[in-house]
Symmetry: C2
Subunit: 245 residues, 2 copies
C-alpha cells in the first residue's frame, strides 16, 4: 500500500526545486521504465506499478510496489495515466571526462523541454555518449524532457557546464556555432574533434559564444522560412557530420 | 468593439468540427499573423489586435478590430496571451496539380500536431511547395500545427489525399517507405520524381502502404535508441535528399 505521504512526495517532484532538494525525479510509462531497468537499474529507488504491468524477469533487486490506477493518476504529470512510475535517484556527480566521439554538441540555453529531450534521443541514435548543456538550459529532469528522450537520457552523459570552463579544460579541433549566415554545413570537410554549439529557440547562439567560435555554420536553405526547429536542426547536423562529412 | 458573440465564435473554432462547419480557423501571435499578411492576405476575414500591435504599412484592405488584452485572452488557445489573433478562411478546394519539385513527402497518420507543423516548416526550408497527407492525419488547422509551422503552412500546399487516389492519378519514379530495417538512406543515388512515405509516431508506415512501396529506406543508426522522432526523421530525409543525393 502506498501512503498519501508517498503520493504527495512523488507529486512534489513535479517541481524542479524539490527534485534538486531531494536529488530524485520520476519516470513515467512502460517504455521509459523498461529502458531505465535495462540501462540504469542502480538508479531506481522504487517502482510503483498497476497490476497489469509486470517487472521484466531479468530485473533484479528492484523494489516494486503495487498501486491502483487512481494512485498512479495522482502521481502522474501526464494526461494519459501510465501503468508504471519509477522514483529515480540523480546520477552521482563526478568530474566528467570527455568521451571519445567524432564531435560533441554544446546546447546553449535550450528552453523547450520537448526540444531538449528530442535532441538527446537523436544524439543517442547517432552514437553520441556525451552532450554538453549550458547551465541555463531547461532542467534535464523535467517530465517532458524525460518523455521526449524516450529513455535515451539513461545512455547519454549530459554534462551541465559553463562554456568557458569546458574550453579551458578541453581542447577541441574547432568550435562551430550554428547561425543564420554562416558557412554551408555541407562544405565542411573534417569535423573530427570539434564542438558544435546550438542556440536557444528564440535567440540562437548567444553573442558571447558566437565570438568564442572559430566559425559560423548554416544548414543550407531552399525556401522562405527563416529558421528551423532546433531539434530538427540538431538532427540534420548529427546526420550530416556522422554520415556525410 | 468586439461583441461577446464574436468572442464566443472565435472560441468555438478551437474545435475541429466547428472549423469544418464554418470553413474558418484562427492564427495567433505577431510572427504568424505577419506571415499570413505577407503570403495569404486574401484569406483573412478579420484581425483582432491589441493597441500595441500595428498593421504593417504594406497591408491593404485588411479589416482590423482593436480589442483589449482581456478579449484576446478569452479568444486564445495559448498559455501566453498573443497581441494579435486573425480569423482566417480555409483555402478554396481546387483539384490539385502535382508541383514540380525534386521529390514529394506523403505523411501517413501523423497524430501529433507539433510534429505535423514542424514537418511543414522544415519542408518549406528545403523549398518544397506541396506535401501530401493521409486523410487521418491530425487536423491541419489545429492551433498547435499552425503554431509549430511558424507561418510555413501559408506557403505550402498541403493536399489531404488517399494514397490510392494519389498514385492512381500521378506517376512517381519510385515510392519509398521509411521503416526500421530498410536500405540505407545514404546509399540512394537518385530520388528525383519519387514519393517518400513517413509513418505515424506509434505505428510507422501502415502495412498497406509498405506493401505498395518499391522499397523501404532507413536512416543509418549508430546508437541504441529504437527510433527517431518523426519530425526529426523528416528533416534528415529532406536534408539528405535535397543536398546529398
Amino acid at each position: 500500500m502506498v501512503t498519501n505521504l508517498q503520493i504527495k512526495f512523488i507529486k512534489s517532484l513535479h517541481l524542479k526545486k524539490n527534485r534538486l532538494e531531494y536529488g530524485q525525479y520520476i519516470c513515467e510509462g512502460a517504455k521509459i521504465v523498461q529502458e531505465l531497468i535495462s540501462f540504469k537499474p542502480e538508479y531506481i529507488e522504487i517502482v510503483y506499478a498497476a497490476d497489469e504491468w509486470s517487472l521484466p524477469i531479468t530485473a533484479k533487486n528492484i523494489r516494486l510496489e503495487r498501486v491502483t490506477c487512481k494512485d498512479l493518476e495522482k502521481m502522474s504529470q501526464h494526461a494519459t495515466v501510465p501503468s508504471v512510475i519509477a522514483l529515480v535517484n540523480f546520477p552521482k556527480k563526478i568530474p566528467f571526462q570527455p568521451v571519445l566521439q567524432k564531435f560533441h554538441l554544446f546546447l546553449d540555453q535550450i528552453a523547450d523541454p520537448g526540444n531538449l529531450g528530442t535532441i538527446i534521443r537523436t544524439a543517442d541514435w547517432y552514437g553520441h555518449k556525451q552532450l554538453f548543456l549550458s547551465p541555463n538550459c531547461v532542467d534535464l529532469y523535467n517530465s517532458k524532457v524525460i518523455q521526449s528522450a524516450m529513455g535515451s537520457h539513461f545512455r547519454m552523459e549530459c554534462v551541465e557546464i559553463n562554456f568557458n570552463d569546458l574550453v579551458a579544460n578541453h581542447t577541441f579541433s574547432s568550435i562551430y556555432s550554428t547561425a543564420m549566415r554562416g558557412n554551408d554545413l555541407n562544405q565542411l570537410k573534417d569535423i573530427t574533434g570539434s564542438l558544435v554549439i546550438m542556440g536557444s529557440e528564440s535567440h540562437g547562439v548567444s553573442s558571447e559564444l558566437l565570438t568564442a567560435s572559430d566559425s559560423k555554420i548554416t544548414i543550407p536553405s531552399f525556401g522562405q522560412t527563416e529558421s528551423l526547429n532546433v531539434a530538427v536542426a540538431a538532427g540534420i547536423i548529427l546526420h550530416q557530420f556522422t554520415t556525410n562529412t
